[in-house]
């Protein structure tokens, strides 16, 4: 279901929970599917003893992927034209993430309509882990 431009106002928000108590197994799942086997995400021994981090942590692209579900659930399937993010803090096993899209503008382009969104994903402490933007075709 796509959004209707006439229903959208600047400042409208859509929020959803991406994950509760992120599991290490999901990091393994993402490594396998994406092909990014960096041990920082799946190998506790390497990450704590060699790399010097307190534990393995999530691929940035996993956070972007989970945030992508919030986006496509909101704007509809196949509607995104742009999606970009900055990874602003690391995401750790045990984290619970919530993500919000905020309508920044609704514009006409080439006979169609586009919505621009600001995106922010935060952890259970309210710390921003991802900030970004998206653009999607709306009806």
């Amino acid at each position: 279901m796509a959004l209707k431009a006439s229903d959208l106002k600047v400042g409208d928000t859509h929020t959803s929970r991406l994950v509760e108590d992120l599991k290490r197994t999901q990091l393994v799942q993402y490594a396998g599917a994406s092909g990014d086997y960096n041990p920082l995400h799946t190998d506790e021994l390497f990450t704590t003893q060699v790399a010097g981090y307190p534990s393995v942590f999530a691929h940035g692209m996993l956070t972007m992927g989970m945030t992508g579900k919030m986006l496509t659930d909101y704007v509809g399937d196949g509607r995104l034209t742009k999606y970009g993010v900055r990874f602003t803090s690391q995401v750790w096993p045990g984290d619970t993430l919530d993500s919000t899209a905020t309508v920044k503008s609704v514009t006409d382009k080439d006979g169609g309509k586009l919505v621009e969104l600001d995106i922010k994903t935060v952890n259970q402490n309210g710390v921003e882990v991802l900030s970004g933007y998206a653009e999607a075709r709306v009806d």
Binding site: G35, D36, G52, Y53, H59, M61, G76, D77, G78, G84
Partner: protein, 164 residues
């Protein structure tokens, strides 16, 4: 990164969607997807990143008979040289941007071509000197059409990111 053949397959899309916790049937159920506006299964928005699977030289995948820096008998399978400083800060992903000219679907066969990107430095508060490097990847389909433009920014840190 250069990838000569990235075949987009339904099973891979299913596995990728599961891994990001997305149970939307548009990624898994061909009958459902056929009745949607998309007209069939499509790939989730960050799927192009899985092109790493098809890069023969991708450094973050263990290869048979080659040293691998993850743990085995020892915390790392590779002995690090002197001068590593305060441990290996290593490379982290700082930014990722996608522009979709159309959405990927099973049956697409993509090529990925890397364009030269910028590098720059910055002094970081939590991890010492930061060296950023940008890469732009153009994904083209079996007809030579540009389908996705991806721009990534990686950062190498002088030391692990301070958690305080």
């Amino acid at each position: 990164m250069a990838v000569r053949t990235f075949p987009v397959e339904a099973t891979h899309i299913l596995m990728f969607a599961r891994s990001v916790g997305d149970d939307n049937p548009i990624y898994a159920d061909a009958d459902y997807a056929a009745k949607t506006e998309a007209g069939g299964i499509i790939a989730p928005p960050t799927f192009a990143q899985a092109s790493a699977q098809f890069d023969p030289d991708y450094v973050l995948r263990p290869k048979p008979g080659k040293p691998w820096f993850g743990s085995g008998k020892n915390p790392s399978g590779v002995v690090r040289g002197e001068g590593g400083g305060g441990g290996n800060g290593g490379g982290l992903h700082a930014e990722q941007h996608f522009e979709y000219h159309r959405h990927l679907k099973p049956g697409d066969v993509l090529t990925a071509t890397a364009l030269p990107g910028k590098t720059w430095e910055k002094e970081g508060r939590r991890s010492g000197k930061l060296i950023f490097s940008e890469n732009v990847i153009e994904y083209r389909d079996q007809n030579g059409e540009l389908v996705i433009t991806a721009r990534g920014v990686g950062v190498r840190t002088e030391r692990p990111v301070d958690q305080k």
